[in-house]
Every structure is written in C-alpha cells, then in structure tokens.
Amino acid sequence: MAPQYNGVMNFSSPAAAERESDPSDPNVLLSFDRVTLGYGDFVVLADLSLQIKAGEVVALMGGSGSGKTTLMRAATGQLSPQAGVVSVFGQSIVGLGGAGLQSLRQRMGVLFQHGALFTDLNVFENVAFPLREHTTLSEAELTHKVLETLDAVGLKAAAHLKLSAISGGMARRVALARAVVREPELVFYDEPFAGLDPISMGVTARLIRRLSDRLGCASVLITHDVAESFAIADTVYLVGQGELKAHGSPATLGESNDPYVRQFLDGAPDGPVAFDYPVTPDFERWAAYKGVGP
C-alpha cells in the first residue's frame, strides 16, 4: 500500500492511518492541525499539519527563514497560531495561559540555538536550575541527578567550571543536559549542529539519539544539516516557501524527485529556491540614484 502524503507519515496499514489523524491518541505528543503561523501580515507557514509520537526522532528541516524556529515557538506556546490548532500532550496549547501552560512546559525540554545558558551560573548550577525551580529534591539528590545527567553528555568532570572556561561545543552539551535533566517527554533541539566542528557534531547527534532511546521521549530536531540529522532521524519534515514540502523517512526523502527536495538535499545553488535576489522597485530606484543599471 503506497504511503499517504496527506500530512502524516504512515508506513503501514490503513487502520494506522485512521489512528494517525486522531490527536487524542496518547502516543501523539505534538500535533499541528492545519496551522498557519505568521507575524502580523507576514505569513511564515500556511496550513501545516504534522504529528509527532513518543520515541520518535523527528527532523524539521528547511532553509534559513523557512519558519523552523517559528514552528518550535508555536509548539512551546510562545507564539499563537493565526489559524489551526496546536496540541501538546493531547491538549490544545492555543490561548492556554498561566498554570495550564506552565504544567505543559514542565514536560518539555528545549535546547536553544546558542545554548542560552545562564551566564551568571557555572556548569553545575545551570543544569541544576530546572530542578531547583520546580522540584523539592534534597541537595544530595539534586547533586546526584545533575551529575548523572552531565555524565550522560560526557561533562561530569566539568561540573565545577565557569561558563567562560568551556568551549562552544561543550556549552551546547551543557545546554542539552539542562534541557533533559527533568526527563521531559518532548524535547526540541533548535539548530543543535550549527557552528560545531565535525567531531562535536557527531557527538551531539549520537547523544540526541541515545537520550531519546533512553528516556523514551519524542525529539524534534530543527536543523538544516542533512547528513547528521538523516543519520539519526526516524521521520523528516521539510518545510519551505511557506508550506510543508515533503515528509517521510530519510530513505524516502532521499529517493524523492520533487525539485525543492532535490535542491535542498543536493545543496544545489539554484532551483526552486532562486540564487538571485529578485529585483524590486525599491532597488531600481536606488540603482537610478547611484547611476548604475539594474
């Protein structure tokens, strides 16, 4: 039976296809139902639908400015969709405020693009922050948990270091540890590979997969790094030009003939995403002022 590209990836039976579109399925941790996202008049993504289940590693890919980070902000409730419903853990997050939103957020973890570590705290205290804020663990229990998490990312012996003493790759791993220290059910990684050297990239990718398998959580990778994410993702969603362009397993996407997908995966300079910035009346006016031809 050919896979249905109607917004949800489904390998197997029609029965499973029925189940996929039901957001009250307890396995579906995050669901976007015909969501339109934008800022004011500027629409970033239109009529988007996707679902993410527990235990999945999902890669959300697209070029710069394609709306990946916007998608994540909608999922964490930091941005309200202009249309459609965003559901997290089976609950609609749209318009939810206060205590309800807080309790949902406590079940999520987020790794920000540049780490967003708290610069006035050292490595240990950064990872301990969510525990100190939300749990009543004793100091001993807290220390044990933090060191255990740091150990999982290979930085247990760096717990005492100040942030100024660690490298960018290490900082990213500390941020990862902080994102997962409370064992969340849904973790977002915003550009986890950006700006890392090849070794750090490989380490980070393997860490993400390992943590996901160990915690049984759903991991959403927001990235444009094809090689690393394809190596660890179960499902890939490709967004661009304001819509969902393609989705499927890495293998399926690799075989796709869609020109946008091909340009993205092959890294071709020109294609559906044009190389040349389009000429606008503003530019023509400026060119005339400068005395040059458009």
């Binding site: 957020r105 987020v110 967003a116 610069t119 804020e133």
Partner: protein
C-alpha cells in the same frame, strides 16, 4: 505645520512610553510575593546593587562634604556666622544632596548595569529559555532586582549624608578650626528628625523606585543587539537622572513648604 505635527507625534510617543512604564510597574507589583518565597534572590541583588555601589557613595559623600565645608565656610564667614557651618552642611545633605546625588550616582552605576544585564540576558535568549522552562522571568529576574534597588537606595543615601557631614566636620573643625561644639550643637538644634531626616529618607525611597523601575524597563524592552543595549543604558541614565531631578522638585515643594 510640520513642526506642530512633530511635537504632536513626540508627545504621543512619550505618552505611550509612560503607559508602558505604568503597565510594567503593575507587572512588577503583582509579583512581589517572590520576596517571601525566595528571599535569597532579593538578598543577592541587594548585594550586587548596594554593596557594589558602596565605594563610590562613600568617596563621593566624603568629597561633597569637604566641598560643602569649604564653600560653606567662605560664604558664612562673610556674615560672621561660621559657627552655623555644621547646620549648613547637615541640612544641605540630609534634605537635598544626600538623596539626589546618591540617586544620580545610583542611576549611573547600578541603573546602567541593571539595564545592560537584562538586555544581554534578553539578547542571549536566557529569558526565553526560562519561559519555556516554566519559570516566570519577571518573578525570577526582574522583581528581585526591583526590590534590591528599593532597599539599597535609602541605605546608600543615608551613608552619603553621614559621610558628607563627617567630611564637612573634618574640613570645618580639623582643617579650618571652627569650634567643634558649635558645629554639632547648631546642627542638632536645626536639623529636625521628622521634617528633615525622615523627609530625606522618603525622598531616597521614591528615587530608588523611580531609577530602578526605569533601569529594568529599559533593559526589558531594549533591542537585543549591542547597539540596542548601548542605547538602552544611555536612556536609563538620562531618563533616570531627569526623573530624579523632577521628582525632587515636586517632593521638596510638598515637604518643605510651610
């Protein structure tokens, strides 16, 4: 016609900022409970804001006292009233210079560092990170700093006044040779605890609220770029200083007119 439109637009912009400031103040006031649940946060901020300002306040207070003593002596000497120097120095400091100069120094030292800190936290997405971790950044970051500033200001102003009086005493009695008994007794006869000292303390609390509020507001709303932070710190000092001077006029008129 363009000039009129410009003035109108300018006034409108200022009104909008005033409204935002009032709303910001409301946000802080409704979350003051944090001081009961996490007093450590407030204590830490009192340390960063107060203790780290102590050196400049002590030295400035001392030198302002020196100058008051010197200039006061030169002026009083012409009317044969040098013995009133203690009274002159004390009243000038307790009523005006203590609260006002401390507030101006506070805006420059503590205000700018608060603005820059909040602005940089915003730029580094730290505040966003707290939000998604279900930690209210206003409660966790802003309110402790707000309370820290309000607690630190009156203490700093009192210390400034004390250092100034001692400085004036040093210049007047030790260096120039005015009678120490006259210096203190004239002062004690003329400085009223309720009218002068208490009013000075009230002034410093009001200034503390104003300057800290403006500093946090600018940091919270600044653009998360180096230029944005730089502009915001400038606005903190300028707006904070002007507001202090304006409030001083209003408070003085209310408190000290008989």
């Amino acid at each position: 016609m363009n000039a009129l439109a410009a003035v109108g637009r300018f006034t409108l912009e200022k009104l909008v900022v005033l409204g935002q400031l009032a709303r910001f103040f409301g946000m802080l006031v409704t979350r003051l409970g944090i001081v009961v649940k996490r007093p450590r946060l407030v204590i830490q901020q009192v340390h960063f804001i107060g203790n780290y300002s102590l050196l400049i306040i002590l030295v400035s207070g001392l030198f302002v006292g020196f100058v008051l003593g010197l200039q006061g002596y030169y002026t009083l000497n012409r009317y044969g009233s040098e013995e009133a120097l203690g009274l002159l120095v004390a009243l000038s400091l307790v009523r005006e210079l203590g609260p006002v100069v401390t507030a101006l120094l506070f805006a420059g030292r503590a205000g700018t560092s608060l603005t820059a800190e909040i602005g940089l936290m915003k730029a580094g997405e730290q505040l966003s990170a707290m939000e998604v971790m279900a930690v209210d950044p206003i409660r966790r970051v802003l309110v402790p700093r707000f309370l820290g500033g309000i607690i630190a200001m009156p203490i700093l102003a009192a210390v400034f006044s004390m250092m100034g009086i001692l400085g004036g005493w040093f210049v007047g009695v030790i260096l120039i040779g005015i009678d120490t008994g006259a210096f203190w007794s004239q002062m004690q006869n003329g400085v009223d605890v309720f009218n002068d000292v208490l009013n000075g303390v009230i002034k410093s609390v009001v200034f503390g609220v104003a300057v800290t509020l403006i500093a946090l507001f600018e940091g919270w709303h600044c653009r998360p770029t180096p230029e944005g932070v730089s502009r915001a710190t400038t606005r903190t000092v300028v707006a904070g200083s002007l507001v202090v001077l304006g409030l001083d006029f209003v408070l003085t008129a209310i408190m000290f007119s008989h």
